[in-house]
Symmetry: C2
Subunit: 285 residues, 2 copies
Amino acid sequence: MDNRPIGFFDSGLGGLTCIPYLMQALPNERIIYFGDTARTPYGSKAEKTIRAFGAGIAGFLAEQNVKMIAIACNTVSSIALGEIRRRHPELPVLGIISPASHTVAKTCSPENRIGVIGTKATIRSAAYPHKILRYNPALDIYQQACPALVPLIEEGIIENEIMDLTLRYYLDQFLSYNEIDTLVLGCTHYPLVRRNITKLYPGLRIIDPSEEMLESIRDALGRRELFASGEAGAKRADNIFYASDLSENFVNMINRIFAGTDLRVTFKSIDLEEAAEREGLDYGF
Amino acid sequence: MDNRPIGFFDSGLGGLTCIPYLMQALPNERIIYFGDTARTPYGSKAEKTIRAFGAGIAGFLAEQNVKMIAIACNTVSSIALGEIRRRHPELPVLGIISPASHTVAKTCSPENRIGVIGTKATIRSAAYPHKILRYNPALDIYQQACPALVPLIEEGIIENEIMDLTLRYYLDQFLSYNEIDTLVLGCTHYPLVRRNITKLYPGLRIIDPSEEMLESIRDALGRRELFASGEAGAKRADNIFYASDLSENFVNMINRIFAGTDLRVTFKSIDLEEAAEREGLDYGF
């Protein structure tokens, strides 16, 4: 039994898509979310920068006395997971790549043709193919970077011809040429355009790593006996959402994600001076 | 006579579009450029964040012993120019809004219908209409935010149907409904899609504030007798380009901008730890 909160972070807003599932599946748990909206998007930045930013945020969450760090960001999970685990040996640190890779490896056969889409950094790291092939070396995996999707989604350009055209720009040839039948949404923003994708490519099987990650959080809490007791869970207002920049986009995205749920949340802007000092401490590598 | 360099900065890569003109027009001058590629784009962030980032970079340039700070970023010029001037009373600090506003006010009549496009923050600040109307209160000015343009341009999606469609998404109705005949490109990224705009809307007069800013830099150097002597100008390799993130996009954008020129430049990645400490000093307001 452990009533400390779960630390959860993303490079920006995308990781918020996991939160309603997490809160509904594990209603006793408190969450501290950090979205690095001041420096989003990460996916086209250099690896050194991504490692420094990821380590800085993990350090911030550790200082908030969390019982676990869950990295909702595919880019950070691809590049910085090892670094963050080395810095926080006392905490379980979960990435988003392994759980989905395990599901793909388990449920696909050599007849399937598997596609992975993500940011430039995620695709360049080849984290998904490496993991999937480690679990099941017989599979065929193809990758495609889609760098314009995140900024368009962050601007709310979703139910729109521009989004459809951008998806077709990246996916038409990729899917047909490689005869993809299973597509991994290797970026937490992409579930927000899942409906566009299924409309454009109706036969495709879609894997959403956020759903698989939720299972792995539940497993890790269970294995280590870290579930929270009921009393703490009643205090829903204790869920805290930090953003390094509390902008209009942040508020719009939250409204979009939490529309239709009865979940109550509290939002806080993180103090920039404090954050810079904390990050300063963590940049030294 | 003053052989110190000119400090020049932008939220990211857009400000680089001004540099070849500046180097050709003022070949004796050395330039220190800072592009905040680790935190770009600024245009949809909160005003407090934009002021803090702008002040931090201006402080960094002042420490490099520049003789002038030129803010190529429309968003920072709109939001943080006053703050930066207050912090650096010893230096001339030039924004990009005033010079273009002056040109519009001087060359347009009440028969013209003037449009301004920019980021959300620039448009919300109404910096262009305020300035233009101060110089010429008889003019009609209309504004349109185009938040998806910067991320698409930073991803190199330019000579492409997606860019044309995105431009039409923002501009078709705006231009025709308001009968715009003069369009101010209120973001330093937009000159990179100027060709798309003139192809889609052939009759439109385009105002590029970078060109007007160049004149204002020359004027300010002349008025204060700050021109560099010839000897320093010979050392072209002394031009330094700092980026907070030396990513693939940065290199691609530089190649695009400097293609076909004979200008030699040196690039440096700024040390993140140092930057965070410096910014920490400047965040206290």
